[in-house]
């Protein structure tokens, strides 16, 4: 990346309480079209096969949706079969909530998770969870705010259900043993999220997600729910009548494929940050590779808004080992400026996330950024200016940022931090109804993997709400299938359709999905897992 070298930029930087306002700003739509990654023409393709054939989709996502499967019928010979009522795929907040509710309703539950239970984006959520509980707030206002933020491209019924659930979601979390910050009278404290009309975010310090996740994880671990960790799902199973009937799990511990025959499957696989769309760093955890989208799509589930992603403006850009780490929006709300390589403000820092992100990208693309010398770069988040205006503010309100600074060897009170937009959230996903049910019978989808709840832009605090609200709903409805007779025959026959369609559409069969792990983790070359690769491939290799 071209730009002022970081050493030079740092030498030229001087803290100042006030700085001149940025120059004239282009229209948001123009700015987005020119610089927001969603609008990169290269990044968009039209899907050739599957339920969303003809729809626009991000190129990298499309590549996976239209890829061949990781396994073949031949790979399943001798694989053990386990029976259960409900199979939850994914061990984040959504999956745990669904599993707990399903089990409480009498269903036998297995959670299969790619990493460990709780290794998820949930655990990293800092801000809080939205629930209209204050006197001057109503579920209707929560609804209206969510619709407005979504740019109207949203499933209104889902939003109505979610905002009406919200207070009871908080009660349920307290009953699982989750703590929230309380005032002197024992009432829940609330704070305001950007773009909302009331103080509605309840929280536990800036560790809301961590507190939620460890409580849910503990509730699962102390219960009889079976947890399979290091067990990514690589394919769903289908019945002859087109139901989802379980999944093929690749056990990284036993290094074999295992079949789970289930009466209902709940996909709670999270987002796509680790696909590094458009080569962006990400704030997401290691396992966020969009596996659920791929699995659901192959079985015929409809997806939506797959060209819309949230890039959070303030991802750490330096030091490199922490690249992508989120710096909370609160720092900009507190008045931190953004400065380019010339030490100038270039955007109104309190514009919506997509606008600010696009402006940062523009500065860097046009050579006005700050270069780290190792290919990356960014702009200054001018934290010292805030400290000058409000001495002591960081220590009191942003302890986690000070902590982050220590890890970087930077004191944000005296030195600016280098930031660049970071891939944060998948706005769209699998289409669901109010119970988390997809258009494939027996298949549920919840949390970040699902779509329609946030439209094309998500509000802070609505994600933690989404996962518990729809997690509980899907858990309850999936458990309702426990009394079904079960499926006579399970197979991966739907893969033949996929291959047929791909071939007819002239698509190559040389890539495969789901991704499971980002390429740099070298999973595909790990000899420990050779046994999990396709028989045909292994033979080819020998």
């Amino acid at each position: 990346m071209k730009g002022t070298p970081i050493e030079q930029a740092l030498a030229e930087y001087t803290a100042a309480a006030q700085r001149p306002a940025p120059g004239a700003q282009p229209d948001t739509r123009e700015l987005l079209r020119a610089f927001h990654p969603d609008h990169d023409a290269h990044a968009k393709v039209t899907l050739q096969v599957g339920p969303n054939k003809g729809d626009i989709c991000h190129r990298q996502v499309a590549q996976l949706l239209q890829a061949d499967a990781r396994i073949d019928e031949a790979d399943l010979a001798g694989s053990p079969v386990t029976e259960t009522d409900v199979l939850v795929i994914g061990g984040g907040g959504a999956g745990c909530a669904a599993a707990l509710v399903a089990q409480q309703q009498g269903a036998r539950v297995i959670i299969a998770t790619k990493l460990r239970l709780g290794d998820s984006n949930t655990v990293m959520a800092e801000g809080g969870i939205q629930a209209s509980i204050e006197k001057d707030d109503t579920p209707q206002m929560h609804f209206d705010d969510t619709i407005r933020a979504s740019r109207q491209v949203v499933d209104r019924e889902l939003v109505a259900e979610m905002v009406s659930d919200a207070p009871d979601v908080i009660r349920w979390l307290i009953q699982q043993g989750m703590q929230f910050d309380l005032d002197d009278y024992g009432d829940l404290m609330t704070r305001r999220a950007g773009g909302t009309s009331a103080a509605r975010v309840v929280y536990y310090r800036d560790y809301t997600g961590l507190e939620m996740m460890r409580v849910l994880r503990e509730a699962i671990r102390t219960s009889d729910i079976e947890v399979w960790d290091y067990s990514p799902a690589v394919e769903l199973l289908s019945s002859e009548s087109g139901y989802c009937a379980g999944a093929v799990i690749s056990s990284l511990k036993e290094r074999q494929h295992k079949l789970v025959r289930a009466k209902a499957v709940i996909l709670a696989t999270g987002g796509i940050g680790r696909m590094h769309l458009n080569e962006f760093p990400t704030s997401n955890h290691f396992g966020a590779t969009g596996d659920g989208l791929v699995l659901a799509y192959r079985l015929g589930a409809r997806l939506r808004d797959l060209d819309s992603f949230q890039y959070h403006p303030s991802g750490l850009a330096y030091p490199q080992h922490l690249a992508g780490t989120l710096i909370t929006e609160g720092v900009r709300s507190a008045g931190a400026y953004l400065l380019n390589g010339r030490g100038e403000r270039f955007v109104d820092e309190l514009q919506p996330r997509d606008h600010v992100a696009a402006a940062i990208i523009r500065e860097c693309a046009e050579g006005r950024g700050i270069s780290t010398g190792s290919g990356s770069g960014g702009v200054w988040l001018d934290t010292p200016s805030v400290e000058l205006r409000n001495p002591g503010l960081f220590e009191a309100r942003f302890p986690k940022l000070i902590q982050l600074g220590k890890k970087c060897g930077i004191d944000p009170r005296h030195q600016p931090m280098l930031i660049y937009p970071t891939l944060h959230y998948q706005n769209g996903g699998v289409v669901i109804d109010r119970n988390g049910q997809t258009n494939v019978p027996g298949l549920f989808c919840i949390g970040e993997a699902s779509g329609g709840v946030h439209g094309r832009n998500r509000l802070m605090g609505n994600s933690l709400l989404d996962i518990i609200s729809f997690g509980r709903r899907a858990g309850a409805h999936a458990a309702g299938r426990a009394h079904d007779r079960g499926h006579k025959k399970i197979s991966i026959e739907h893969l033949s359709n996929l291959r047929r369609e791909l071939t007819l559409a002239g698509m190559p069969l040389d890539s495969k999905g789901p991704l499971l792990f980002p390429g740099y983790a070298n999973f595909e070359n790990d000899s420990d897992y050779a046994g999990l690769r396709k028989n045909s491939e292994r033979e080819g290799m020998q």
């Binding site: 511990k253 036993e254 290094r255 000899s527 420990d528």
Partner: protein
């Protein structure tokens, strides 16, 4: 092969009088102490010339250890801890000495006290060794108020206090500084060094700690002379050693033999060979450092230097014999589990390290292990040693490292 003289000194029938002091004194008992009282200043020289070494496993020259304590000036108390916490795998010699020959230990302790100007003697004994602690109690009681003890006190110039203290029974309580904590009434947590016990031990006083077998030799050296003791050993080695042979042999037991007796003799003459139908695979040397000897080491003289030259360690002189069909990985897992269970908890690298090694070993042993697991074990052998306050972790790593060296193919075959 020639038959060596068996049980010449410590396990000689004349010493095995149990707690009866009269019987002890009616034999040669008391003669060593009398010589010591006559010339306390000559004791350390005699011990040096005899070449006596720490027989609890360290092999450290005894006279050096004594000299550090003897040099400590001042009029305050000085302590001797007679270490009978014996708990190492395969080791059962000290319990035999304490139960059957308590008086040679007590006499040895008194001579040691004279040599180092020590006035407080603590017999620190594992409470799980019932007969040993009972007989030591009785034996100590019988010394009280006797003329030989009075003579020793006169030679020292102040009264000598002797007491029997039950240890906590934790293996780690055998570590020197842990023993000091235990004698003070605390949990046996090893202390950081410095200060060394010779400067600051029990209640801050100079403290000497010796193994029971080491002390038992002392009266005999004083009575018969350093040259006699040296000549007992074979080659360059001095004195005798009580070897504890156990495992798949016909006659397991404790045999006192010249230091430096070849392993093959211990195994085939005294142990009377392998059990019927069993074929020798390896020998784990017991003690603080379990290491492995193999069939190519049968000729090794069992003394500190010779065993060390085979990448192993004599330790307490325990030889645990295993035969073909015994899984080395499983055996090592059990030893590491022993150390893991014994870790006091102060150093996470030790507690978590032994736990983690044990987990990887079990995984490999049960056919679940991967090459990465094996690589991790090899790596931990490099990273962990020396990171604990005491040497417990080093012991666990040694047995692992030794098994990896000799039986790598067995590990590799067990991989999934």
């Amino acid at each position: 092969m020639t038959q060596r003289p068996l049980n010449q000194v410590l396990l000689h029938p004349g010493c095995r009088v149990g707690p009866e002091l009269d019987q002890w004194l009616s034999g040669h008992g008391g003669e060593g102490l009398a010589r010591a009282c006559a010339a306390p200043g000559a004791i350390i020289d005699a011990i040096r010339e005899a070449g006596l070494r720490g027989l609890g496993g360290s092999g450290y020259p005894t006279h050096k250890k004594w000299s550090f304590v003897a040099q400590q000036q001042g009029t305050g108390d000085k302590y001797l801890i007679c270490n009978g916490n014996e708990d190492e795998p395969g080791t059962f010699k000290d319990r035999l000495l304490m139960a059957e020959t308590p008086h040679q230990i007590i006499e040895g302790a008194l001579i040691t006290a004279l040599a180092c100007a020590i006035n407080r003697i603590v017999f620190y004994i594992n409470p799980d060794l019932g007969l040993a602690i009972d007989n030591m109690h009785q034996a100590v009681q019988q010394w009280r108020g006797t003329p030989p003890l009075q003579t020793a006190a006169d030679a020292l110039g102040r009264p000598i206090e002797m007491e029997v203290v039950a240890s906590s029974g934790h293996y780690i309580g055998g570590e020197e500084t842990a023993a000091i904590e235990s004698v003070e009434g605390n949990f046996p947590f090893p202390r950081g060094k410095p200060p060394y016990p010779a400067e600051s031990g029990v209640h801050g006083c100079p403290t000497l700690i010796n193994n029971m077998e080491t002390l038992a030799n002392v009266p005999h050296i004083l009575r018969n002379g350093a040259a006699w003791y040296r000549d007992l050993g074979l080659g360059d080695a001095c004195g005798t050693k009580i070897y504890c042979i156990s495992g798949d042999v016909l006659r397991p037991g404790a045999y006192e033999l010249p230091m430096g007796t070849p392993l093959s003799e211990l195994l085939y003459i005294y142990g009377d060979g392998m059990l019927v139908g069993k074929k020798l695979k390896a020998i784990f040397t017991g003690g603080p450092s379990n290491t492995i000897l193999t069939t190519t080491d049968l000729d090794v003289p069992l003394d500190f230097e010779s065993v060390a030259a085979r990448r192993s360690a004599l330790g307490t002189g325990a030889m645990i014999v295993v035969s073909h069909g015994t899984g080395i990985v499983k055996r090592v897992t059990e030893y590491v589990n022993f150390f893991a269970a014994s870790s006091c908890g102060q150093c996470p690298s030790c507690k978590t390290g032994t736990y983690y090694i044990s987990m990887l070993l079990s995984k490999i042993d049960t056919g679940e292990g991967t090459r990465a697991d094996l690589e991790s074990l090899i790596n931990l052998c490099k990273i962990l040693p020396g990171s604990g306050r005491c040497h417990l972790l080093d012991g666990a790593v040694k047995v692992l490292d030794s098994s990896l060296y000799h039986f790598m193919s067995e590990y590799e075959q067990a991989l999934n």
